[in-house]
């Protein structure tokens, strides 16, 4: 599955548009991570627990979007956007959306 955040796919031609696909996930951080992050906040530096949490959640949101695209019979998703919102204290929603399309490799000229 081709995924890009541009409106077109460089080197490919979009032949068919399948429509909007989206994926979301809401993740809460756990207490262990909070405590570690609280300690890390004394001396500074990267809060690895949170970075991992965000990476995992983004991957999951994107996977859901890709599953939808697959169901629609698309082979690419263009114009992908990410957004986050905090729903309650300590939980964040990660949302990912794009347009599912069918794309074919462009015939090279010259």
């Amino acid at each position: 599955m081709l995924v890009v955040n541009t409106e077109y796919i460089p080197g490919y031609q979009v032949t068919q548009i399948k429509g909007l696909v989206q994926g979301n996930t809401i993740r809460a951080k756990n207490v262990g991570r909070d405590i570690m992050a609280g300690l890390k906040n004394l001396v500074g530096g990267e809060l690895k627990g949170y970075t991992e949490l965000l990476t995992e959640s983004r991957r999951e949101a994107m996977q859901r979007m890709l599953n939808q695209a697959q169901e629609l019979g698309a082979n690419a998703v263009v114009n992908v956007r990410f957004s986050t919102s905090s729903i309650t204290q300590g939980a964040a929603e990660l949302y990912c959306y794009g347009t599912a399309v069918v794309a074919q490799p462009q015939v090279q000229q010259g």
């Binding site: 955040n5 004394l42 809060l47 992908v80």
Partner: protein, 172 residues
């Protein structure tokens, strides 16, 4: 944190040992955290900046653009979405300094470096992913902040959370 200590001192004059311990706990700990936070935080930050500079040198040949279109004479293929993210936490001293700054207003330098570090780190992670795919250009780079660490305790953890994504290409 500091308030009860002098109250205690006045109420039970009898036990001087307890007073001293109370003083150390109520006044000393924050001071130790401040000094320790400043020293360690500064070391961590300087090391991170050196590390960033070294790694940026490696990836400076990858072309980065925020536009969607590429010049028409470029021949591009193998597009793929790449992303990088980093959550960088503040230290005790920075948090304290920013709270003091909050009283008077103005530029909060201590948090500016925090954001800079998070941005550069996230950007580098994206470039690392791009290079793993053998790409030599990243177009349509977008940057966004997320809020997962906020709302911890009463004031919330001061941390910079940056997410960077773009489309990596092999350009010839």
């Amino acid at each position: 944190m500091v308030r009860p200590s002098w109250l205690n001192l006045r109420c039970n004059r009898g036990n001087s040992m307890e007073d001293v311990i109370a003083l150390i706990v109520y006044l000393g700990l924050p001071v130790i955290f401040l000094i320790g936070g400043y020293a360690i935080g500064k070391t961590v930050e300087n090391r991170h900046f050196r590390d960033l500079e070294r790694r940026e040198e490696i990836y400076k040949r990858i072309v980065r653009m925020t536009t969607k279109r590429i010049p028409s004479n470029w021949h591009a293929n193998d597009p793929i979405l790449v992303q990088g993210q980093a959550v960088i936490g503040s230290d005790y001293f920075k948090t304290f300094a920013s709270q003091i700054r909050n009283l008077f207003g103005g530029r909060v330098r201590s948090l500016e470096t925090l954001m800079e570090r998070a941005r550069r780190e996230a950007m580098l992670r994206m470039l690392e992913e791009a290079r793993e795919h053998g790409a030599n250009a990243v177009i349509n780079i977008r940057e966004e902040t997320s809020t997962i660490g906020r709302g911890y305790g009463r004031q919330g953890l001061a941390s910079a959370e940056i997410f960077v994504y773009g489309t990596a290409l092999k350009v010839s």
